[in-house]
Symmetry: C2
Subunit: 536 residues, 2 copies
């Protein structure tokens, strides 16, 4: 547990501690079901406004910071986070049960994300500048001078995920991309890791201070149940929402956002079972390794990853039988890992019980329960395509290391199954690309899958998301509320922007990004052609 | 009236005429309140599915057409539209009361839009290709090969506007951008101009045929009331909605789309009063010309433009008094033009009556009623900032040539007024940019206005929207349902796309847009750098 000299810590609102009037919460070590760390005060709903008011005020100046300032601020936040690294890694482990290597890896990723978005802010391509100079002689009508850029939407509410206490939490992807876009962030911490959130929040607050930004640029709220979160999304000063969590939580926020006097976009990542399709040629390779890699992907982080495999498609026949045997064997020597919270563990156990009760679903294999609390045994069940397609609840995500193996006997059944899938974050195909028949099957599957998922991958595992320019971590509903965007990677900044056109603006009033001479050195589209500064 | 050899015409569904089972409608010449043209059969709600099924089927092949095919198809549609030009211009005039010059101008714009989107489809930049080649040696983890492109969402439902029988109707902007994106279109015609819609629909259907596309790529529906439209938006095969019309109509579609099992995006353009701010230095120029230009913008197309000025801010004092006098004089010699329909005319007359009843609002000037039916006199009312800010209904759009003049006595009051504005399509500033004080005021106004509107323009008039790369015809709610997009200009294609990532896809299965060697000659982002083919 992190050393702390105080017994009570407060939400960080508008640059300072604001004593919450909605009770308190403490972290819980899920490996022991024991409370840990100090008490954190929870805001009462009527206190939320203090953060949103400050954010609205901060927006006026923060949105006008130049690329260098915004980038420097994000880099300082990354530095301060890195400096607090040891305390963060320790607190993550205590509050979430995640192992040290995972905590360190996630911290590195989170720091890397902040630095990546510093580069995005600096480069400024996200401004999407398009310039059409006036054509006074054009017939039948002259063309005015028209210049377009994207502007930040305004203060953004972000909700922390339970399963990524760093990368999808206080200083995670939504925070980084919103801040890079020029949007202040009001962050609703996840109560499962209040101490982690506090350390990260302090790092960001410190960076705000060091760069003399308005303190409302970042606030960190704690609150009980859904009240504070709902109040936040309903607040007229909030202009967009980022959320990672359950389908019920996400759809509740969508409803609130849609019912506002002025509706706002909600980017909720919710639910995905991430099918993995093994084609016959994949099984003619090293089946033992395939099974081991699959089980590692299934059980990693106790299966609590948005991209964890919940569905494994295995061909009928001897090779498939053998693969399933290998999975069973591998799994039986695998132990359950500590889950994030007692509640998440219960939901997973109940989900497995419901699965067991579905007619046509059979238990295939089980690992060992872990030695800690909240560490249920990883498990695999089997069923067939018909049962899957006729039983809607089999499409529901079970958050944890539980996978359904489906045996299929023809390409046609595979394609039927794909047609019956809901929107997913990922789909994975395994095949030997030298095998002509499987390659053709994969081509037909790809054409369906690309319409159903955010990312299609080959001969790998969906867990592990590379953070860069080309990644998409998103997908059609219910994987996310809005498949037009991604929560990971540089494209995520587009969530928080909207285009504005400027017509015949006098030169002295022209925003820098739009000025002749391109003072910010942006990639711009001028009169239909790309203007790409050297080195870009 | 267009010559026709039949007395009854049907919706165009899946490449052919489908006799509607929901009654019939005829065009009405609003200048005479007299029915005109043949009868058009209306679909019954349960017939809608025939169009959506066909569109879903068409999507499978249409989305895979290459850039050249899609561009050629859009160009043929433009050609066929142009060939039907004389009949179209005549029908538009009869069905809408719009004058010949406007009909010809709008036809040219519509043809131009189709050709513009042919170029967009051909260039393929909208695919947003980003490539990150594998880095097997990267530490701590190797980078997979990741490639991103945008895919079309699926069949799109588009609703025709009353006020642009061509440019925002059957072959208008939403149709052009959706088709360019690879989305089949199911178009719900506006019943106020069924004959115009039929001619345009035939031109597009003909182009679909000539290019051997699936006939479900385009369908044209007629329907009574909101039933057919609601059925269309609720249909699970529809993946996005484009709409231009009233706030009540738009928000009803938003509610339906949000309540679906799988919610979909709605791009509704709804309501805007397009404030025009005259700063003191603007009044030191030719006030007579300023007044004449304002009245022309107000009364053009009988005020039935989404960007028509509904609010004119005039400084207190003598110059302002004189400007208002000039407006009054100019208006008094101006005649009302025929409005689009009797219903629209009634709504406008009622809106004006409500305005007249607001305490603090005074009649300032009135033109003459037109000589046709449905041609009420253009009118100007005056009020002050306080009344405007304390009377929410003064923010409601009155669709027609009615403008509220607000006198202001300080920059502070102007800024207060801007703070009280709802989201708008446009805001306009008039000033002499050489005037230092006004330039500074304009700078402060611009910083507020750019957060409130889709387009800010200087020393011009908001009516008249240039169609190109840099335009934004959109804006925060209630101007539109989704300020993150535009309905006019090339950026509009982004409404109908979503990104997908491809990880480690075997070369043989790589989509052409993503292949090494860039066979489609796209502008792409490769490993963080722009790859811009020559000439782009």
């Amino acid at each position: 547990m992190v050393e702390t000299s105080v017994n009570t810590l407060d939400p960080l609102v508008n640059g300072g501690a604001l004593a919450g009037e909605g009770g308190t919460v403490r972290g819980v070590d899920p490996a022991r079901n024991a409370e840990t760390g100090p008490e954190y005060t929870l805001l009462a709903e009527q206190q939320v406004e203090q953060a949103t008011r400050a954010a609205a005020e901060a927006f006026e100046s923060y949105r006008r910071t130049d690329p260098e300032t915004r980038a420097a601020f994000l880099r300082t936040a990354a530095d301060r986070l890195e400096e607090a690294g040891e305390a963060i890694v320790e607190t993550v482990q205590t509050e979430t049960g995640l192992p040290e290597a995972r905590a360190r890896g996630e911290l590195a990723r989170t720091v890397g994300q902040l630095r990546l978005f510093a580069r995005v802010a600096e480069a400024g391509d996200y401004l999407g500048v398009r310039i059409e100079p006036a054509l006074p002689e054009r017939k039948p009508l002259p063309r005015p001078d028209l210049r377009q850029r994207k502007l930040p939407l305004g203060p953004v509410a972000v909700f922390g995920a339970s399963n990524f206490p760093l990368a999808f939490s206080v200083g995670g992807g939504d925070t980084a991309s919103a801040l890079a876009a020029g949007c202040p962030v009001v962050f609703k911490a996840h109560n499962a890791h209040p101490g982690t959130g506090q350390l990260v929040g302090q790092a960001i607050t410190q960076a705000v201070r060091e760069h003399d930004l308005h303190p409302g640029t970042f606030s960190l709220l704690y609150g009980r149940g859904s009240g504070v979160g709902q109040a936040l999304v309903a607040d007229p000063r909030i202009k967009a929402v980022g959320f990672t969590g359950s389908r019920s939580g996400g759809t509740a926020l969508m409803a609130t956002a849609a019912a506002r006097e002025v509706p706002i976009p909600v980017y909720a990542e919710m639910s995905s079972i991430n099918p993995i399709f093994l084609l016959p040629s994949a099984l003619r390779q090293d089946r033992r390794k395939l099974a081991a890699d699959f089980v590692a992907s299934l059980n990693g982080s106790a299966g609590q990853l948005c991209t964890a495999p919940g569905l494994l498609l295995v061909p009928a026949g001897e090779d498939g039988d053998d693969l399933v045997r290998q999975v069973v064997e591998e799994l039986s020597s695998t132990s359950g890992l500590t889950m994030l919270t007692r509640g998440i563990c219960s939901a997973r156990v109940e989900g497995e019980e419901r699965l067991r009760g579905v007619s046509g679903v059979e238990a295939a294999a089980q690992g060992k329960a872990g030695s800690t609390e909240n560490a249920p045994a990883p498990a695999v069940y089997t069923t067939d395509v018909e049962t899957f397609l006729s039983t809607p609840e089999l499409s529901d995500e079970i958050f944890g290391a539980v996978c359904l193996v489906i045996r299929y006997d023809s390409e046609a059944r595979l394609l039927d199954l794909i047609d019956g899938l809901e929107g997913q974050l990922t789909a994975t195909l395994h095949l030997d690309a030298e095998d002509g028949a499987d390659r053709e099957t994969a081509g037909r599957m790809l054409e369906k899958l690309e319409l159903t998922v955010g990312r299609v991958l080959f001969n790998g595992w969906p867990t592990g998301v590379d953070v860069g320019d080309a990644i998409v971590h998103g997908g059609p509903f219910p994987a996310t509320s809005d498949g037009r965007s991604t929560s990971v990677g540089t494209l995520a900044i587009e969530r928080f922007l909207r285009p504005v056109a400027y017509q015949n603006v006098p030169e002295a009033l022209q925003p820098a990004a739009l000025r002749d001479g391109n003072p910010w050195g942006l990639v711009r589209r001028v009169d239909g052609h790309y203007e790409v500064p050297e080195g870009r």
